[in-house]
């Protein structure tokens, strides 16, 4: 079981009133499952208040980076002691 840090950025920090936490998990799926359980519904509620309806899990509408790499790029999902997950909403405005 690896101890990892999760850091929330931009809107997520505002919506969830938290900037970081520690998790214990063996792999990415387990860590994402814990995050969904703790924060998924709160995050969707915050978005709904602003007129954004989301019926997916937070991992499906968020940008999530493991040690600075988007998890969609990863082949190996085993977590190591000291790993960091960064999570924030996608933005594309200009």
């Amino acid at each position: 079981m690896a101890s990892i840090t999760v850091q929330f950025h931009s809107l997520y920090r505002l919506y969830l009133c938290i900037d970081r936490l520690s998790l214990q998990a063996d792999d990415l799926d387990e860590a994402l499952g814990q995050m969904e359980e703790k924060f998924g519904s709160r995050l969707r509620e915050q978005f709904e208040k602003r007129g954004i309806e989301l019926d997916q899990k937070m991992q499906d509408f968020s940008l999530i980076l493991l040690n600075g790499i988007n998890i969609r790029n990863l082949r190996e999902t085993k977590l190591r002691e000291g790993d960091t997950l960064h999570i924030f909403p996608p933005s594309a405005g200009g």
Partner: protein, 288 residues
């Protein structure tokens, strides 16, 4: 670029002394003198200003740039072309600041026209210019600020097919886009052309930026592969208040200046997230 002896002589004769706020004296040359020397020599304003800097004479409008980038840095800026892709919230502010900084040539790429809903945040959008092409208005604005800067408006949508043609002359490309597929297209073209790309996006009170050199980690580290990505992000719903584009665009311009002059340390392989809502700046070291 060399100018004749007659031009050098005119520059020297036209130089005045400017006393800076710290009491130090600098030889400077004013706008009217630059115009007149260019006309007399049949050369461009840019050539005159570069020649002046080579003689240690500072065009007045760049005096306040000297303490940071110096004569050599200002010459590099004047000799450079920068492409700004998108002339809306980010791009309009980038264009404005690049012209004031004294970039020699700015290429503005945007096929869109100003609409009333742009007025809250797009610096170049005025009521009088609603319905007009953003790239054309941006080029006019550049000439009003700094007639030395060459402005090339391109009223075209940048795509993978035309990216090389539109960006090939740029020493640096700045991101003023409003969607992810176009950003990936620009990044790809910049890598192929060997050109640094200064990325930026905004949503609500937050924004992010980084500078991507060919070979650096890039958008894929943030977003994953482009296939299957949504075109836009949360800004579609939460919008963009007036100051957020200026906050990110200002830093993008600093990145452009650093890349061209070699001053400081560009934000390479690091994503900077500025969150004005919470008053926090985060930096994420990116991996490959």
């Amino acid at each position: 670029m060399t100018v004749g002896k007659a031009t050098i002589q005119l520059l020297t004769q036209s130089a005045e002394i400017y006393v800076a706020p710290d009491g130090k004296e600098h030889p400077v040359i004013g706008r009217k003198a630059v115009d007149s020397i260019a006309r007399a020599g049949g050369i461009s304003l840019r050539e005159v200003e570069i020649a002046a800097l080579e003689q240690g004479i500072i065009p007045r409008s760049y005096v306040r740039n000297m303490g940071t980038i110096g004569l050599a840095g200002q010459m590099k800026l004047l000799q450079s072309s920068v492409a700004v892709v998108g002339a809306g919230g980010l791009g309009g502010t980038i264009v404005e600041l690049l012209a004031r900084q004294g970039i020699g040539h700015i290429i503005i790429i945007d096929n869109d026209r100003f609409a009333e809903e742009d007025l809250n945040r797009q610096l170049l959008c005025t009521e009088a210019d609603l319905g007009r092409h953003k790239a054309i208005i941006a080029a006019r604005r550049i000439k009003k600020i700094n007639s030395t800067t060459i402005a090339t408006p391109c009223v075209e949508k940048l795509t993978r097919a035309n990216a090389h043609k539109l960006l090939k002359d740029a020493k640096v490309v700045a991101d003023g886009l409003d969607n992810l597929p176009s950003r990936f297209a620009v990044e790809e073209a910049c890598r192929e052309l060997g050109t640094p790309f200064v990325y930026g996006t905004i949503a609500g009170f937050s924004g992010q930026l980084m500078t991507i050199f060919p070979g650096d980690v890039g958008l894929s580290s943030i977003y994953g592969p482009p296939d299957g990505l949504p075109e836009r992000g949360v800004e579609v719903k939460i919008g963009t208040p007036s100051a957020t584009p200026a906050m990110i665009a200002a830093w993008q311009v600093q990145e452009v200046i650093k890349v061209i002059t070699g001053f400081g340390k560009p934000l390479r392989n690091r994503l900077l997230i500025l969150d004005a809502g919470e008053g926090i700046a985060d930096r994420i070291e990116l991996g490959k």
